[in-house]
Amino acid sequence: MGDRLTQLQDAVDELAQQFVACIHYVHRHHNLETLGPSDEIRVLSKDAEQEVDSHPAEVFKAAQVELAQDLITKEQQIEYLISILPGLDNSERDQERNIKELEDELKLAEAQHQQAIQEKKDIMSSLDEVIRSIRRP
């Protein structure tokens, strides 16, 4: 699971693979037709390498529908991934300004943090003093 851009690129590559898979399926499993009265479909022996492995009409149709649906689904995935790309409405200048602001705020927060730590140390040392001074007189 990479960042969104990588996911998007992977999705596009998968779409390309699906294109190839679709064409391959149709190429491999279509039915055979005669184009003229003199043509006849040759019946090859079972063990010979068959160029076309015809599927029954309804299986072929169902597979086509499924492949088409998969294509649409993938395309919708791609559109969704596009719509959630990070920072689409920020221009480069916005981003730079944003980063600068954050940098300043971070510096300020860091200073406050250090100050708080210092205060904590002070209070701890005075607490320490008090605890040390407690003794049975």
């Binding site: 596009v12 480069e92 954050l102 927060a109 708080a116």
Partner: protein, 276 residues
């Protein structure tokens, strides 16, 4: 291993193809003595070379660290490998025979030669600066995605009619894919900045939360100390009262030790009671 020579060869092969390369020969130079000597040399060099170049005493001090981390030239051979080589000046270097560059510009789509860009001028403005507000990348990407489906449909249609005509359509689809990937890759710096912003924001939130937590606990301890402080006043009052009673007791000729013991009990009682 029946053949001793074969075993030798195997060993040589192992050395050549071992997972980790052998350490460079100069690792033996990194002795404690040599390192100390290098540090001495650096200090000497800093002291001798700095004052003439920097007459100002203040800058001299502030620059000393720089000089200490600076590369020395003309070192003896056994110290030469102790300092890292200088950074490449031109932003280009070779590792294992492959050239690398510091700046890696994204190759332009047109440079591939055959690819037709979908977006004219790559979405750049006239002054060469990108303005993502006017160039709506998401819309273009969505359009390309839809065009891909449409082109595929057309491709299948053409393949059904006459497979010989399909090469043009295949080229179209290929160009669309290339364009898509190119647009995404162009967007990568944008995403990098975006993740930087997110990281900074997260860091800021964390830092602030931590600061508040520290302040809270500090205030808690402060309140507790204040409580103890008010106790102390009680204690002083008790002590004052006790001294008065002891004085009275002394006057009465009672044993001072017993009086002190009672006083202690009283003080401890006052110390513990409010806490409970």
């Amino acid at each position: 291993m029946a053949d001793p020579n074969g075993g030798q060869e195997m060993q040589d092969l192992d050395q050549i193809t071992s997972t980790w390369p052998r350490p460079p020969p100069f690792y033996k130079d990194f002795t404690a003595d040599n390192l100390a000597r290098l540090a001495d040399l650096k200090r000497e060099r800093a002291e001798t070379s700095n004052p003439p170049s920097n007459p100002d005493a203040d800058t001299n001090n502030s620059n000393r660290d720089d000089v200490l981390s600076h590369r020395l030239t003309g070192l003896p051979a056994n110290l030469r490998n102790l300092q890292p080589p200088a950074a490449p000046d031109e932003g280009a270097w070779r590792i294992f025979g492959d050239p690398y560059r510091l700046v890696q510009p994204l190759p332009k789509l047109e440079e591939g030669g055959e690819i037709r860009p979908v977006v004219a001028n790559g979405g750049l403005l006239a002054d060469g600066e990108r303005d993502d507000k006017h160039f709506d990348r998401a819309t273009v990407l969505k359009r390309i995605a839809k065009s891909l489906l449409l082109n595929f449909l057309e491709l299948v249609g053409i393949l059904g009619q006459n497979a010989m005509d399909a090469s043009e359509k295949v080229k179209d689809i290929r160009d669309l894919f290339y364009n898509f990937h190119h647009l995404i890759n162009e967007y990568r710096p944008h995403q990098a900045r975006e993740s930087l912003i997110a990281t900074m924001q997260a860091q800021l939130d964390r830092l602030r939360a931590e600061t508040t937590a520290i302040r809270d606990s500090k205030e808690k301890v402060e309140r507790m100390l204040e409580g103890l402080g008010s106790l102390k006043i009680d204690q002083e009052e008790v002590a004052a009262a006790a001294s008065a009673t002891t004085a009275a007791a002394d006057k009465a000729g009672a044993s001072a030790g017993r009086g002190m013991g009672e006083l202690e009990d009283e003080m401890w009682g006052s110390l513990v009671e409010p806490a409970v």
